[in-house]
């Protein structure tokens, strides 16, 4: 993105050796990097041994990657909110996981009411759209309240203060929902959304009064056995829907930030709030817009998440929130495509890692956070982190 980085991206021939040598030197003489390097070597060794011995097959990798893709898409949608807010305020909005939770929770009441009234069955697509909108509106409302009540009054304070406030807000929201709606999980109804009967001619077929009727692909609740390249896969279209949503929304967000007037103002505010105000930019409004965008993505992600995981509880946002934050840091916090790629990367590593290394699934969090530490050892600004960010801080 910047000139200062371009030499990294395209090293001239001949300098490659130099870079390799200096990297090697750097690694050998830095104990932390040496330890990190050895650990990576060990992990690769274990993984390769596992694959070579036939304990881990390509088929398993593909299957696990597909579920990882969905989980990663959810992480990505949440991570974008973290990265947006951090990019502008240099603040980690730890209550963002609860913004996610609020979307799923309030969305439940909408979809539940529509299930009761029969609308979900009769006008499935419309009902899902309404649920999505309700979820988005709920998340946005919570985020705006957070910004106004908890963060704006502290804008001039040292950076640690809003961080602590964010953690407090996170706990407050969890407890608020717990007191309001109780600890019992709410369960989303299972939704069948049939699409493209013309293309998927032989799916979801049933005898209806003597005739064979096929409804097409069930986008939400469908589960299909597919043989690809000799691999026996089980495909849930909703996983791809989640990933697709994450990618499309990320690109939309990127265009918004790069091309629109408000997006440019966001970047201006990110760089210098006073200078931006002197341009006539309403800094408060731009910051609120940032929270709105992040919350909208989280709310949409939350409803999607609940559509295929069903259960919604006041604590459901906490772990995904932490993971998404990790994803944002992995990708280089403040960087929009980085957050998305970090989310997918984390989702896939989490789901394939334990089996690939032949260790307990309980250790998947260890893999996730271990990876974070490793990447930060070698690239302190994250995979796609901008070097400029350091100058500013």
């Amino acid at each position: 993105m910047t000139d200062s980085q371009s030499h990294d991206a395209s090293p001239q021939p001949g300098t490659v050796d130099m870079i390799t040598t200096s990297l090697l030197k750097n690694t050998l003489y830095n104990p932390l990097r040496l330890a990190g390097g050895l650990l990576i070597f060990l992990l690769v060794y274990v993984a390769v041994t596992n694959i070579a011995s036939g304990n881990y097959t390509l088929e398993a990798f593909v299957r696990q990657s597909i579920t990882g893709l969905a989980q990663g898409g959810i992480y990505a949608l949440i991570a974008l909110g973290y990265t947006l807010v951090y990019g502008i305020l240099l603040m980690i909005n730890f209550a963002h996981g609860e913004v996610f939770m609020a979307g799923a929770y309030v969305g439940f009441f909408a979809i539940n009411a529509m299930e009761q009234s029969g609308m979900l069955a009769d006008h499935t697509f419309l009902a899902l759209l309404i649920t999505l909108m309700v979820g988005v509106v709920a998340s946005v409302t919570i985020a705006l309240l957070l910004e106004r009540i908890a963060y704006r009054p502290l804008r001039g304070a040292p950076r640690l203060v809003p961080l602590i406030t964010a953690i407090g807000a996170s706990i407050t929201l969890q407890q608020l929902f717990l007191r309001l709606f109780g600890p019992d999980p709410r369960v989303y109804p299972r939704v069948n959304l049939y699409i493209l009967p013309g293309i998927f001619k032989d799916l979801e077929c049933a005898e209806v009064s003597g005739a064979q009727v096929c409804k097409g692909l069930d986008l939400i609740d469908g589960l299909y056995r597919v043989d690809v390249l000799g691999m026996n896969l089980r495909i849930r279209p909703v996983f791809f829907l989640v990933a697709f949503f994450a990618i499309v929304l990320m690109i939309a967000l990127w265009f918004f930030v790069q091309r629109t007037k408000t997006g440019k103002a966001m970047r201006a505010v990110a760089e210098d709030k006073n200078a931006a105000a002197l341009m006539g930019i309403n800094v408060d409004r731009v910051i609120a817009t940032t929270f709105v965008l992040g919350a909208a993505l989280a709310g949409a992600g939350a409803v999607l998440f609940a559509l295929y995981n069903q259960q919604v509880t006041p604590f459901m946002g906490f772990v995904p929130g932490i993971k998404a934050f990790t994803a944002a840091v992995l990708g280089g916090i403040g960087n929009i495509p980085g957050a998305m790629l970090g989310g997918f990367f984390l989702g896939i590593v989490e789901s394939t890692g334990p089996a690939l290394l032949g260790i307990s699934s309980q250790l998947k969090d260890v893999i996730a956070f271990g990876l974070l530490v490793l990447i930060l050892i070698f690239r302190p600004t994250g995979i796609f982190g901008e070097v400029l960010a350091e100058k500013k801080a």
């Binding site: 000139d3 440019k264 970047r267 210098d272 931006a276 105000a277 002197l278 006539g280 400029l388």
Partner: protein, 238 residues
């Protein structure tokens, strides 16, 4: 006719009493300059006018209207545009985007286009580098961009903070030519803060001398240029 008036303002940075009762008037069409040493309160005066560091006491009056506690972006919308000290070009926005930000408060697309053409016309260097990021420009180019960006706000009154700082003499001359041009051709009222007092006084109608947050002299630029004490203190003797 008085366009901008500040009446007896006091401004604090935390506990530091930065401005101790400053009063300045700027008439429509004038170039007024504030001169003074480091820490005299020149930048604070401009930031108080712009609403970045609002006055604790006193008033800022624009065209008869009190804007003392108006928020910064609203002050810009009323035509008071500041080009801040140290240029404050947005380093991660392109030259064009920087100019667009200058016109943020405007919505007259045709007017914005015309003004951008005008800026590129005045500063052909910026046209050449319009897709580059602000951070990649040289100091002189950044200053051109900062002034161009301020012009994009279509100011009634332009607050310029140290436009010559850190520039080579050739560039300083060029910048001051532009300032004069803006004033004479565009009829933009200008409040100029400068350490290069000689240069500032040469183009200004009137001047105020600040010292430790208070005004020590106020007179026509012509008179101050010949004031012995000013020459001694700010114009580097003879």
């Amino acid at each position: 006719m008085t366009l901008l008036e500040i009446r007896d303002i006091h401004t604090y940075y935390g506990k530091i009493h930065a401005l101790k009762g400053i009063s300045v008037t700027v008439d429509e069409g004038e170039i007024v300059t504030l001169i003074g040493g480091n820490g005299a309160g020149k930048t604070t005066t401009l930031n108080t006018i712009s609403g970045i560091t609002p006055a604790a006491e006193g008033q800022v009056i624009l065209n008869g209207e009190d804007i003392t506690s108006t928020r910064p972006h609203e002050i810009v919308m009323r035509g008071v545009v500041q080009s801040p000290e140290g240029r404050k070009v947005f380093t991660r926005l392109t030259v064009t985007e920087n100019l667009e930000m200058g016109a943020f408060a405007r919505s007259d697309v045709a007017g914005i286009k015309r003004d951008m053409d005008y800026v590129f016309d005045r500063f052909p260097r910026l046209l050449e580098r319009r897709t580059q990021l602000g951070g990649t420009l040289s100091g002189g180019e950044q200053q051109m961009l900062a002034i161009g960006r301020a012009l994009m706000g279509k100011p009634r009154i332009l607050l310029l903070d140290e436009p010559s700082m850190g520039l080579a003499p050739m560039l300083v001359k060029q910048i001051f030519e532009v300032i004069t041009y803006l004033n004479t051709e565009n009829h933009t009222t200008i409040l100029l803060v400068e350490q290069n007092a000689r240069m500032a006084l040469s183009i200004a109608n009137r001047a105020y001398v600040l010292q430790s947050g208070a005004i020590t002299h106020a007179d026509s630029a012509e008179a101050l240029q010949h004031d012995e004490s000013i020459i001694e203190a700010y114009l580097g003797g003879h």
